[in-house]
Amino acid sequence: MSEPWEDEPEGPVRKFMYVNRRAPYGTIYALESLEVVLIAAAFEQDVSLVFMDDGVYQIKKGQKTEGIGVKNFSPTYRALEGYDVEKLYVEKESLESRGMTTDDLVVPVQVFDKDQLAALMEEQEVILSF
């Protein structure tokens, strides 16, 4: 027998984009964004994540936070695939200005330049910026 909530008619699926522009530990934005992304994923929405400006630092490999007494939440980005959040984009210009490449990142991403990202933003129905 199916559970009652499984009989609910499916709601509309909207295109959600999360724009991450902050470094991971200096402010709470990165962690809050991750929480909200997981909520949207639970509602089976069409989720895209963008990492640009200092947001690219959120997915930098090798974070070891013991020394600052803060939880290292970077492994969670690797778990997003399990929630069918697989559209991850990084802005090319942001990576390059910080001397980084995709080899520095904990997850596979698509590298888009600013014009490609702008076009992708235009396609979205909901954009949440952190």
Partner: protein, 102 residues
């Protein structure tokens, strides 16, 4: 009276480091902490500015903040010195006063 300047904001997002460098007199020291540590690495658009500062200032970077952010100490701009929290305290004691550029 030599001063210790601390910078805790990302140089890519804020102008805090620029303000600090504009007002730090020769012989004063700069300590990069929290998101300020992103200024400390080679290959960025900020690196030349920090390299130039090394001619007038000792520049330190807080190791635990570097590790937390997954940044590689081997990739630091040459001439920068890594300190731990104990070293941070030593610097505060060594210099006459501290200016925190928030």
């Amino acid at each position: 009276m030599a001063m210790l300047h601390t910078v805790n904001k990302s140089p890519f997002e804020r102008r805090t480091l620029d303000s600090c460098l504009r007002h730090a007199v020769k012989g004063s020291a700069i300590l990069l902490i929290e998101d300020g540590v992103y200024a400390a690495f080679k290959g960025t658009v900020i690196a030349d500015k920090v390299k130039a500062a090394l001619s007038d200032h000792k520049v330190y970077v807080l190791g635990p903040d570097v590790s937390a952010r997954g940044m590689d100490e081997d990739n630091l701009i040459p001439g920068l010195e890594v300190v731990d929290y104990g070293g941070f305290v030593d610097l505060v004691v060594e210099y006459d006063k501290v200016q925190s550029w928030l």
